[in-house]
Amino acid sequence: MHALIAGSLRENPGRFLLAIAAIALGVALGVAVHLINSSALNEFELAARHLAGEADLVVRGPRAGFDEALYPRLARLPQVEAANPAVELEVPLAGRQDSLRIIGFDPLRAAQVQPSLLPERAGIVLDLFDADAILLSPAAAEWLHLKAGDPLAVQVGTRKVPLKVAGLLPRGAYRQRVGVMDVATAQWRLERLGRLNRIDLRLKPGTDVAAFRRELQAMLPAGVHAVAPDTEGERAAILTRAYRLNLDMLALVALFTGAFLVFSAQVLAALRRRAQLALLRALGVTRGALAVGLVAEGAAIGAIGSLFGVVLGYAVARYALSVVGADLGAGYFRGIAASLNAEPQALARFFTLGVLFAVLGAAAPAWQAARRPPARALRAGDEEEGLRKVHTLWWGVALLVSGMLLAAAPAMNGLPIAGYIAIGLILLGAVLVMPQLTGACLARLPSPAHAAAGIAIAQLKATPRQVALSVAAIVISFSLMVSMLIMVGSFRGSLETWLERMLPADLYLRAARFGETAFFTPAEQARIAATPGVGRVEFVRAQTLLLAPERPPLTLLAGPVDAGDPGSVLPLTAPARTTRPEEPPPVWVSEVAADFYGFRTGDRVQLPIGDAPRLYTIAGVWRDYARQNGAIAINRGTYVKVTGDTLVNDAAVWLAPGASVTHVQRGLRERLPDAARLEIATTREMRDLSLGAFDRTFAITYALEIAAILIGLFGVSVSFSAQALARRREFGVLRHLGMTRRGIGTLLGCEGTLVAALGTAFGLAAGCGVGLILIHVVNRQSFHWSMELHVSWLPIAGLAALIVAAAAVTAVWSGRAAMGDDVVRAVHEDW
């Protein structure tokens, strides 16, 4: 028995290697994605914990912050042992397209609350009291190539503010890039006088932290929240969990495909060895022992594949973290330098998962082989007969219907679990209906006069269930490709439409691409408007609002949105509601904000815009692909009236008739101080920038598509290799009858082409279904933005043609054993 299995492995190393490769690929993908994400999250949480130090609570406000008068009030509370006021901002770096996180602390208080971050030792604290002093973490110093004494310029407004690196934080105090300043210096140099946006509180021993937090919350102004330091770290986990789930699901899909490949390989292997297995049964091996032996074969494939997968995944994660970065292209962990955090339990989990999938793939064929009566199995030509008993149609239909029904289910705990199960059911259902569907289609094919084509079609017609195994491999891989193409294409198409709507002007000015301290003053706004060649300018102020402490702040956009016609500026998802004069002023929420906070058109909500919370009317929901944490749009006039904030971050410029873009760009640079650091871009440049970012984000899906193609072709190759061996005598007879090697190649090519054509046709149907679920369920529930269906038929048709051609080539290549001289001798074998 063991010798039979070992013999099979020795005889068909290629087949087993392919199955091992598929499992390895799935496990590697899962391990890599998990390691990269968990390392980044771990680093993120570590950073948040280090920054909070020994604080029990962190009082957080929006970017604009809150009045610093809050600090002494909190510090004097009897439960508070120490409090450290802070300004924490992402500050644009002058002269480079990036930003640095700067935290302005009270260095003396920091010794009580964050002693490990700012140890009270000679020099380092005193150094911070210089008017331009900043301490850099070693990671930031290395990144910026700076050392103590070097100058560092940051951007505030449109001005360059020179700072001086007073020294470095102790190595190990904080692993990420950060700059630390004295809070007063930070307020002054970053133009935040009188404002704070963070206070770290260390409570007296014995204080009930949860009760005090509730008590404290009641004292805090609107939009300011007291949170536990852990919540700070967990925020990233909440923000990224849908993205992580999506990547994990892609890894699971790869594993599922691997399991299918094991299934198809084992079915064919069992068929090829049917006589040997039947002989074992005849010699007294029990059904159970035979099934266990065959399942063990699958487990061995799974174990070897998983081992390779774990090693490969580890290597990929290590490479990605050291070279590419931790955010997998999505931008969640920009700037986070993470070291690999490989927990053995997680690696063991993925290893087990790989083995489990392989065992699942091997179980059905093993059971089927064990159940077959030995007397019948000893007869030649039993292959199709063995499969004929497998009745899968109604199971398949039931799974397809269940999948479609489940797709309508809402998100579970904010995640598209039902959507993913629906996709799994649809794919599995598609595989199960394949034998009958393939049989029905093949039965309608005419029999051509051409010998090779005629034999190919007759062979396929006579063995629909065996053909279905190959077809199903193509269906799985092509449906995944189609669904990803449809999803990515729809997203890209919707993004292009959205960009056209959001970028109606000729030129766009941004005070800085990154960071939170760049802005245009009213005087600069006036200079922009008065620049020769400028016809019209619209300004936008971007601020943040902290509505829920466990979520990242959402963006408040104060712009030219008109209550009478908001649709002219915002891409609304439904007709806007016109507010009556007696109603609170209107705001328009993005889909993300609507989903996160439960906003509905017509609701009246209290928002902490300005120093006091006020009521606003939700007048509509708009699509926003730019801000993953949600956004609220408000008329800038209303915003200025409520807040008194006349600064802006962005300007949209329409040229006067006849004015040239270059001329106006030059004029703007001349009229604005430090203009070289401003970003002045044309609509096309902005559009290209956004689409470039999109393409980088979805780069991983293209890699997965290539993997899907390879896995599909692996399936075809495995199937045709096995068939070529199983049909050696048939090919030998054809060689005797005068069919050339090329003729046999043509025969196999015809079979491969037909199999792939059927696979791509059914895969297209299944892929469209899965694509719709990805667009309307998974994507909507994961990222909370909707999109229109954009199907690019040309790439899909091209890919289908490529698959069909590749399958034909693969079939011929895999069947090369059928063209060798030994097939001639096989005719004279009498077994």
Partner: protein, 224 residues
């Protein structure tokens, strides 16, 4: 019509051995001969060489004036396709083609017009008494019926030479007798010549003359 001169064939590998040594014989048009010999003496190898499926180490094979050893694999295949027919011990009908499709296979390979091919197939099925079975699949036939279909397939394209390798090895004596009679009849009627490879004296007796293949070479049965 078929002339074999000093044919020799060895197989390499760890257990290298000479299978055929200095084999020479000739078959005239219309002649039906038997080659008998013990198992492993090289009967099937000789058939493979004559059919151009293998290449001899030494000697020549001339079929209807064409020297097979001078042809490449494709040319030999095309020659085999048009001028040679095969009958095997295990029938080797293609399981997924009907009886008629199996018989039509050599015609299709030779590019015969489908209408002409259909007429020829009908005539052959009539000759072997299986017209009613034209649309059934080989799995539904008995051993004797299968071998009759195989004979029809081997002769459908009117080959110059029919090669039959133990055609009655899998049949009971009564059926074997019928098949041998049919084979002889059809070779005489439809083919230029025929070679029957067998170790059965009964089967060999149905041919015009018998040659015995031994490790020493090929010799006429009369001198055995």
């Amino acid at each position: 019509m078929l002339r074999i001169d000093n044919l020799g064939k060895s197989y390499g590998g760890a257990r290298s051995r000479e299978v055929l040594r200095d084999i020479s014989f000739e078959i005239r048009r219309g002649e039906y001969i038997a080659i008998v010999g013990e198992s492993g003496v090289g009967k099937s190898t000789l058939l493979n060489l004559v059919a151009g499926l293998e290449v001899p180490d030494r000697g020549g094979i001339s079929l209807d004036g064409v020297e097979l050893t001078a042809l490449d694999d494709t040319a030999r295949t095309l020659l085999r396709r048009s001028r040679i027919g095969f009958v095997f011990q295990a029938f080797h009908l293609l399981p997924h083609l009907t009886v008629a499709q199996n018989v039509a296979l050599p015609l299709s390979l030779n590019g015969i017009d489908p209408a002409q091919a259909a007429a020829r197939v009908a005539s052959m099925l009539d000759a072997i008494g299986l017209t009613a079975a034209s649309n059934v699949y080989p799995r539904e036939l008995s051993g004797g019926e299968s071998q009759r279909v195989a004979i029809a397939r081997a002769l459908a394209h009117r080959p110059l030479l029919l090669l039959a390798d133990e055609p009655t090895g899998n049949l009971d004596p009564a059926t074997a007798s019928q098949v041998l009679a049919l084979l002889r009849d059809q070779v005489k009627r439809e083919s230029g010549a025929g070679i029957l490879v067998t170790h059965s004296a009964v089967a060999a007796a149905t041919t015009d003359r018998v040659l015995v293949l031994t490790a020493e070479g090929l010799r006429p049965a009369a001198s055995a």
